[in-house]
Amino acid sequence: MHGSGEYVKGKNYTASELMAITTCKEFKDWEVAFVGIGIPLVAGILAKRLHAPNLIIVYESGSIGPEKLRVDFNVGDSSAADGALCLTSEWHVFGDLQCGYYDIGVLGGAQIDRYGNLNTTAIFGEGDYHRPKVRLPGSGGGNDIGSSVGRVVIMMRLEKHRFVEKVDFITTPGFLDGSPGARKRVGLLGGGPAAVVTSKGVFRFRPETGEMYLHTIYPGVDVEEIRQSVGWDLIVSEDLKVVADPFDTELSALRSADPANLILGGAESRKHLSGYDQFVDLTLKHAVK
C-alpha cells in the first residue's frame, strides 16, 4: 500500500493518491505553476510526467523550472534546483508572481470557509491569536500565491473541523466576503480560488457569489457524507459527476514520483525504511534522468 491511510474501499488506491491525481489534472502543459510543498508538489511532478511535460514549476526559494528528477520534502531542498532553467532569489520569484507571470498555484490549509479563505496561521480554540490552541506554520508563501497567482487550487482533506463557517484567521484571502469585486477592492491582483480538491470530491466556485459548490465526487462517496463534513449549507452542482478511477499508469507514475512514500505516506512510511541507505537507493533508482 502506498499513500496515507487505507485504500479506498474496494479500490487499489488511497484517498491521498486520488487527490494527487485529481489535482494533477488542473495543470496545463506550458503553464507556470507555483506549488507548495507536500502533496501539491507531487501532483505537479506527476503532471509533468503525464500530460504536461512542459509544465514549469517555480519554488519560492528561487528556483524556476527544475527538471524534477526527484521529489522534494521542503521548497528549499537542493532537489528543487536540479537542472533549473533559472536559479535566482526568493524576492525575484515573488516579484514575478506579482507581475502575473504565474498561471496556477496549489495550496494546502488547515481551515477553509465557503469563500475559499484559508487559515494556515493558528486554530484559536478557546484561546486567541496570541495563545491559540494550535499554532500552525503561518503564511509562508501561501498568502502571496493566493493574492497574486492566476488561479489557485486548494488541496485539503474533507473534515468538518477544516471546512468551517468562519476561519479563525484569514491567512490567504479567497473571495473574502464573496461580495462582487471584493478582491479587487482591497487591492488583490490574482484570480483567487478555482478549485478545492479534497479527499472526497472537488469543489469549484460560483463566479457571481464567490461561493464554493460541490462539483465532482469520488467513486463510492455519498453526497450526504460530504454535506455532513462541511460547516455550512453546501451548494451541490445540478450536474454532479463522479471522478473516474485512476488508470494504473497514473498510479504507478505517482508512486514512482514519491518512491519512498514519504510525502503521500507521511511519518508512518519512515518507519518502513531500513535507513538512509535505503532512502538513497530508492531515490536514485526512481530518479528520472
Partner: protein, 315 residues
C-alpha cells in the same frame, strides 16, 4: 546596516580586511549577543544549522529572529530558550509536520512564551530588500485583505499616491546579525552561492554584521575568475568561517542532499519536551563543536548525502 557606520571593516586593520577567517565559536561570540536581532540565510535548505547549535551552546538569550521560512533553525532556537520574538512567515516542517517546539512555546509558554508577528514570505522579502537598499519601507501587493494586517500594525495599507489604489507598506528589516552559509568564500568575505539564493543577497546587506559560513574557502583569484557568482561582496561581511556540512540535516546544493530521515527522527523526538532535551544533549550540548556533531551523526551518513546530491548537482 545603516549609513552611519560602514561594516565589513571600517574599524578593522588592513590585515583583518584581507582576512576575516575565524572559528564559528569566535564569530558567534563576537556578533550574537543576548537580545540581538538575527536572520539566517538559506530557505529551509542551506540554513546554517551549525551556527544554531553554537548559539545554543553559548546560551544566548532573548533573540529576535526575523526571517522568511525556517524549520530546524527556529524550532531548535525556540526549544532551547534562545528566542524572545519571531517576525516571520513560516515556522514548520513542510511535509513532515508542525514545529513542535514553536507550538509548545506559543500554545503553552514552554520553555518561554514567544511573541509571534506574522508576515508573508513576499513581505519578509520586501523587508529585507528595503533593508539592503537602506530604504525605510517597501510596498507589496500581498497580505491585503488578510488578517495579518489586523494583528500586525506595522503593515500599513495606503493609497498609492500615483494611482490611488491600495497597497501595503512594510518596514525595512535591519537585524544586528545575518548568518549565511555559502558554498564558497574567500578570506576577504566574497561569498559565492549556487542554487536558489533566497533573500541572502539582501539579508547580508541589511544586517549590521554578517557572518559567512562556507563549505570551502577559495582564493580571491578564484573569486575573480567567476565574479558573476559572487552574491555577497566582501564589504557586507565581518567574519568568514569554514564549516563543512554546516546545514546537515538540510541540503546544501552541490554538496549534500537533505536527510529527511534524520529530520524525521528529530521531529519524532521533539514531540515531547523530554525528547527534545535529550536530542539537545546528544547533538548540541554533547558536542563541543561542529566536528563532534558530524562524528555524532556519523561521517558515513554525511558522505551518503554527498553521494546522493552529486548524482544530481555538481559545482
Amino acid at each position: 546596516m545603516v549609513n552611519e557606520v560602514a561594516k565589513g571593516g571600517d574599524s578593522l586593520s588592513s590585515s583583518s580586511k584581507a582576512n576575516k577567517l575565524m572559528t564559528l565559536k569566535e564569530a558567534v561570540s563576537s556578533y550574537v549577543k543576548d537580545g540581538s536581532s538575527i536572520t539566517f540565510g538559506g530557505f529551509i535548505g542551506r540554513d546554517c544549522l551549525a551556527a544554531v547549535h553554537e548559539i545554543i551552546r553559548q546560551g544566548v538569550k532573548d533573540l529576535l529572529v526575523i526571517d522568511d521560512s525556517k524549520t530546524d533553525v527556529i524550532d531548535m532556537l525556540v526549544g532551547a530558550g534562545c528566542v524572545r520574538r519571531w517576525e516571520g512567515a513560516y515556522a514548520g516542517y513542510g511535509s513532515i509536520g508542525l514545529a513542535n517546539n514553536v507550538r509548545r512555546a506559543v500554545e503553552r509558554g514552554i520553555p518561554f512564551s514567544v511573541e509571534m508577528e506574522d508576515w508573508s514570505n513576499a513581505a519578509v522579502s520586501m523587508r529585507f530588500l528595503a533593508g539592503g537598499l537602506n530604504l525605510p519601507f517597501m510596498a507589496t501587493r500581498s497580505m491585503l485583505g488578510s488578517d495579518m494586517i489586523k494583528y500586525n500594525s506595522r503593515i500599513k495599507v495606503i493609497d498609492d499616491p500615483y494611482s490611488g489604489t491600495p497597497v501595503a507598506l512594510v518596514p525595512a528589516a535591519r537585524p544586528d546579525v545575518a548568518i549565511i552559509h555559502a558554498q564558497k568564500a574567500d578570506p576577504m568575505g566574497n561569498a559565492q552561492i549556487w542554487g536558489f539564493t533566497g533573500n541572502d543577497e539582501n539579508k547580508a546587506r541589511a544586517a549590521k554584521h554578517t557572518i559567512i559560513t562556507c563549505e570551502e574557502i577559495i582564493t580571491t583569484e578564484q573569486v575573480r575568475s567567476q565574479g558573476n557568482l559572487t552574491l555577497i561582496p566582501f564589504y557586507c561581511v565581518d567574519a568568514v568561517v569554514q564549516v563543512p556540512y554546516a546545514c546537515f540535516p538540510q541540503s546544501c546544493y552541490g554538496y549534500y542532499a537533505y536527510d529527511v530521515l534524520f529530520c524525521g527522527d528529530y521531529h519524532e523526538m521533539s514531540k515531547t519536551r523530554e525528547g527534545f532535551l535529550s536530542w539537545l544533549d546528544r547533538f548540541v550540548y554533547g558536542c563541543k563543536d561542529h566536528a563532534e556533531y558530524c562524528r555524532q551523526v556519523g561521517w558515513k551518513r554525511l558522505e551518503s548525502m554527498t553521494r546522493l546530491e552529486r548524482q544530481f548537482n555538481r559545482i
